[in-house]
Amino acid sequence: MDQKHAIDFEHVTRIYKRDEFEVRALDDVTAQIATGRFVAIMGPSGSGKTTMLNLIAGIDHATSGRVAVGGEEITGMKERDLAGWRARHIGLVFQFYNLIPVLTAFENVELPLLLTHLTKAERRAHVETALKVVGLADRMDHYPRQLSGGQEQRVAIARAIVADPTIIVADEPTGDLDAKSAEEILSLLVDLNRQFQKTIVMVTHDPRAERYVDTVYRLDKGVLAGVEPGKRGAAPDAAAHA
């Protein structure tokens, strides 16, 4: 596995069993995503975008093939080890924000830090910094119900970055937002990518996203159909087709 690749997929297949049916969500996908890139995985519904993202995030297992993230192969990891690995390396952003409703913005962002050995004061400093980065330093004590959709997604992004993960994976981060909020979230992700050199992998249907990313990976029916440069102008990563 190449260290300059944040993510390495080698002949990855993921088959789901639904009752007596088998669904081939990903079919022999081989792809690499370079470190520090902001990439989008795009494609029609059922093309395997979210499956690919889940495999990168280590919340799903490949049926066959090898997945390496940050130079570490995660394919054969046990769930207990994967949990620890996710806590250290992955920051997740969901379409519906998935904040814990009974926790304030501060407490939501603090969640990943509870898994570290940081002291309370250190955790507070990290959370404040993360919320400042996403522009919500003045909303720390607000509960999710007291925030707009865009603000909730910013809190979710703060939660994803607070533990300084290797990779941020975002599943349709703009899917539940109005156009203005969506642009703001995409700009924020670009800033994170530029300022902190975070590798960001985003699944999206949103065609506007192409203007913000370095590379677009197109999936169709579980197969990697193409790798194109984003309209931001970066060259595509090396990718091998199945």
Binding site: E79, R80, R88, I90, L92, E107
Partner: protein, 379 residues
């Protein structure tokens, strides 16, 4: 500790549901601890009161049949016997019929030697021996009727066709039954026309290991007489009173456990609903990196805290109610039912177990569920 705030936040997520669950567990554990206290208190009375060197001798046919007072002298001649004292049940009531409590007439001369464990001072025993109308009253009965030392009271006869007027010269505590009243048998004998019969003879012997031998000697001595005797240790004697309540005790215990089982099922259903609603959040936490075991521990901690809160409420309520009940109803051998510390501890353990077992299945299932499937339910 850093997860404690998270557990507490989740506990107050649905305040109404948490309060109702705590209260339902509290009510069931109130019933449980109160019911289980009854037989435990009875056993405690037995072990607290009974001396290992006292023997009760009464008519073989039962306490309703008196035996001759003259048996005292013959019993005194049995080896290892140190003190012999006769007793008769007066069965009087204080003001009204429901103002009853156990009242007995006893020989005063050696009462201090027979009951040194009753917590009566030497001076009070001396008064009891000197004053013909003297009586000794248990602490609970003193409290119940707001009596005080030196007070004169009258007991209305129900078995005897006369009343007795008594002066309180002492109160007993220690191992004494807390609701009893003892007065002098010579006073009763005189009022009753000296029938020369007694209900029971108390015998104190030198060593506990001689009890079987003395019992056998006494009963053999009166075998084939007009009033054959049955002698038994004090524990067996008091236990025979308790025996009439045994079925009730078993029913009480059984009911207590049924109530716990029922509320356990209700709590399990509530826990299942609560955890089901949070499957998505649990999946998010796991995707962040929380290990299944940590999530399981937090879910179980929530449920155990709910159980314990219910346990403390139920236990506290039962303690207060039993306290009030025991002060207000000091009649009979079961008049003084208090919650023993062991029952309080047992109730809290049961509370924690209700919490644990009600949540263990849904919590384990939620903590181990496939993250992708669980996230799909949120979307």
């Amino acid at each position: 500790m850093k997860y404690a705030a998270l557990v507490l936040k989740n506990l107050v997520r649905s305040k109404r549901r948490t309060i109702l669950t705590v209260l339902s567990i509290g009510v069931s554990l109130f019933i449980f601890s109160a019911l289980v206290s009854v037989p435990t208190a009875a056993n405690q009375i037995l072990s607290d009161t009974a001396s290992s060197t006292r023997i009760a001798t009464h008519d073989k046919a039962g306490l309703a049949y008196p035996i001759p007072e003259a048996y005292k002298q013959r019993i005194m001649s049995v080896p290892h016997v140190e003190v012999v004292l006769a007793e008769s049940w007066f069965g009087g009531v204080y003001h009204e019929v429901y103002d009853e409590f156990p009242n007995l007439a006893v020989d005063p001369e050696q009462a201090d030697l027979m009951w040194p464990d009753y917590g009566i001072s030497k001076e009070q025993f001396e008064q009891f021996k000197k004053i013909r109308t003297a009586c000794l009253v248990g602490g609970d009965t003193m409290k119940r009727f707001h009596l005080h030392l030196g007070q004169q009271i009258q007991l209305r006869g129900t078995l005897y066709p006369f009343n007795v007027t008594l002066n309180i010269v002492g109160t007993f505590s220690g191992k004494a039954p807390p609701n009893f009243l003892l007065f002098r048998r010579d006073y009763l004998e005189e009022a009753a026309g000296r029938p020369g019969m007694v209900d029971n003879i108390w015998v104190k012997i030198d060593k506990p290991e001689n009890v079987p031998q003395v019992i056998a000697a006494i009963d053999e001595g009166f075998a084939n007489s007009s009033a054959e005797t049955l002698s038994e240790s004090e524990a067996a004697f008091i236990g025979s009173f308790m025996d009439q309540y045994r079925t009730f005790f078993r029913m009480a215990e059984l009911l207590g456990f049924i109530v716990v089982l029922m509320i356990g099922l209700v709590a399990a259903n509530t826990a299942a609903m609560s955890i089901r609603e949070r499957r998505g959040e649990i999946a998010v936490m796991r995707s962040i990196g929380f290990p299944s075991r940590t999530i399981l521990s937090m879910l179980l901690a929530e449920s155990i805290l709910i159980g314990l809160a219910g346990g403390i409420i139920g236990c506290g309520a039962a303690y207060i109610v039993l306290k009030v009940f025991s002060v207000g109803n000091a009649a009979g051998p079961l008049g003084s039912i208090h919650m023993q510390p062991a029952i309080a501890g047992e109730t809290l353990v049961v509370a924690a177990l209700i919490g644990l077992f009600s949540a263990i299945v849904p919590a384990s299932s939620a903590a181990r569920r496939n993250i992708v499937d669980a996230l799909r339910t949120v979307a």
